[in-house]
Every structure is written in structure tokens, then in C-alpha cells.
């Protein structure tokens, strides 16, 4: 079964174009890749270059949500679930040098085979994780 209505497609395409436009702008003007995990990792780690633009980008990410608020957000129910997931996301993106934005959006836009492989790998492992959790009786 596939669940999708036309309003959802329009929002997905419009939102995707905004994400792409933000990534394009950061590359065209700052010469930087809009990979959120990379930017976060550099903010907390040994500073590579100046930090101002990183804080600007991360701050900019937050502002629209502060103004517009959230329609709905289904967060993990249990603290242990949130922590386990967060640790794996943090460690995995640091080891694999990228996440959904860095590899999935910017890397693919840059026609990078490396990012294509990373994207296929994390999508596959995420699909299997959801399969086990939702249909395999784990949780």
C-alpha cells in the first residue's frame, strides 16, 4: 500500500526545492557544503577554519521553526530510545563523514559516487532497522 495525496507531493517538492536552494546558496557564496552533521561535528571539535558561518547556518535552520511552530512531531516515547538513536546517529555520521544532507543532498548534487554509496548504505540499514522494529517484534 502507498499512502500519498497531491497536497503532500506539492509540499514535499516545494520543501525539497527550498532545501536545495539553501544548499546552493551556501556553496555559491560561502563555498561550503550544507552537511548538517559535518557542520555540527566541526563546531564541537577541533575548529577547521572560522566558526562564524557555521553558527549562522545552524541558527538559520532553527529560526523558521521558532516562528512558524510545528504541525506535528512524533518523537521517541522512551528516553533510552532517544539516546541510543542519537548516539548511533552522531557516531555514524562522524565515522562516515556525512548524513542525509551532506551525502544525500549535497553529495548527490555533486555527482559523487562516494555519497551515492553512502546514501544507499544508510537507507538500506535504516529500512532494515524499521523492518525489525515495526514488523520483527523488536522494541
Amino acid at each position: 500500500m502507498i499512502s500519498l495525496d497531491s497536497a503532500e507531493i506539492v509540499r514535499a517538492l516545494a520543501g525539497g526545492m527550498l532545501i536545495g536552494a539553501g544548499s546552493a546558496l551556501l556553496l555559491l557564496l560561502n563555498g561550503r557544503i550544507a552537511g548538517v552533521s559535518g557542520i555540527l561535528g566541526n563546531v564541537i571539535g577541533k575548529a577547521v577554519g572560522e566558526q562564524g558561518w557555521r553558527l549562522g547556518f545552524l541558527g538559520g535552520l532553527l529560526v523558521p521553526a521558532l516562528i512558524l511552530g510545528f504541525g506535528s512531531a512524533h518523537l521517541p516515547q522512551h528516553w533510552l530510545w532517544a539516546i541510543t538513536s542519537g548516539l548511533l546517529v552522531g557516531a555514524g555520521t562522524q565515522i562516515g563523514s556525512g548524513c542525509t544532507s551532506g551525502h544525500g543532498v549535497c553529495g548527490l548534487a555533486n555527482l559523487s559516487t562516494r555519497s551515492l554509496v553512502a546514501t544507499l548504505v544508510f537507507m538500506t540499514s535504516a529500512v532494515f532497522t524499521v523492518l525489525l522494529v515495526r514488523h520483527g517484534g523488536v522494541s
Binding site: 500519498l4 547556518f57 506535528s72 552522531g90 557516531a91 555520521t93 562516515g96 562516494r114
Partner: protein, 140 residues
């Protein structure tokens, strides 16, 4: 100047995450759950984002400069190594557990929900641990 342009880029990116519905983990998990009632939005979001950003990447890759004339070094695009594969696998498991990746996770902080703060604190801790191990190995 660099701060301001990055801020505007972040504003666009953050609005896109909100508009697209990707800040609701239920939509992401719905995409990953291909064996349940599949929700393909994420594919449309990613497709539109990649197509929108691609011309700019082509431009910068060919000119090796930004529009403002600064030189740009884009990362090596071909090397596929063990860390890439291992890291992507680990990230995928974490992403599948909650439906949250770093971008939406950060935006979710604006919801004021405690679980979002816990998640992002764990993300930073995970990054920090990897950096710590890397530094130790480099010292040896």
C-alpha cells in the same frame, strides 16, 4: 558577511525541512517502512533538493570558485573506504530507530520537546566520542 550568507542559507534549508514535513519523524519512518503503508514523500523531497542544488555544484566544480571569487576545494568524490561504509551503516540504524537525522533533529529543538534535546545531546556525545578516539589514535 560569511555569517549573513550562511544564515540566509540556513533559513532556506530550515524552511524547506518544515514545509516538506521532514521534521515530523513519523513521515521519515513512513518512508523507511517499505513493508508497511509506504509514504514516499522523502523521495520527492530529496529528488527536488538534489535537482535544485545540482547546477550550483556543477558551476563551482568547473570554476573552482564561489560567485564571490573565493577558491573552493570540493571533497574527493570517488574514494569508497571502510569508514564510509561502517559509518553509513551505523548512522542508518540510529536513523531507523527514531526517524530523526541531524538536520531535522536540530529543527526539532524549537519544539521545546525534551526528547528532542535528549536526542541532540546524544548526537553530540556520539560525535565527540568518535573525535576523541580519532585523536587518541593519531597521537600514537
Amino acid at each position: 558577511m560569511k555569517f549573513l550568507t550562511a544564515l540566509v542559507a540556513g533559513l532556506l534549508f530550515g524552511s524547506g525541512l518544515l514545509v516538506s514535513g521532514m521534521t515530523d519523524p513519523a513521515n521519515v519512518l513512513g518512508f523507511l517502512d517499505i513493508f508497511g503503508e509506504w509514504r514516499p514523500q522523502l523521495a520527492f523531497v530529496m529528488g527536488a533538493a538534489v535537482l535544485t542544488a545540482a547546477p550550483s555544484y556543477w558551476f563551482v566544480r568547473h570554476n573552482r570558485r564561489t560567485l564571490l571569487g573565493a577558491s573552493v576545494d570540493l571533497p574527493d568524490r570517488r574514494r569508497i573506504d571502510q569508514p564510509l561504509l561502517a559509518g553509513a551503516t551505523i548512522f542508518g540504524v540510529g536513523w531507523g530507530l527514531s526517524g530523526i537525522c541531524p538536520g531535522p533533529g536540530l529543527v526539532l529543538l524549537a519544539s521545546g520537546h525534551g526528547m528532542a534535546y535528549l536526542f541532540m545531546a546524544a548526537v553530540l556525545a556520539g560525535m565527540w566520542l568518535v573525535q576523541l578516539m580519532r585523536n587518541k589514535r593519531d597521537l600514537r
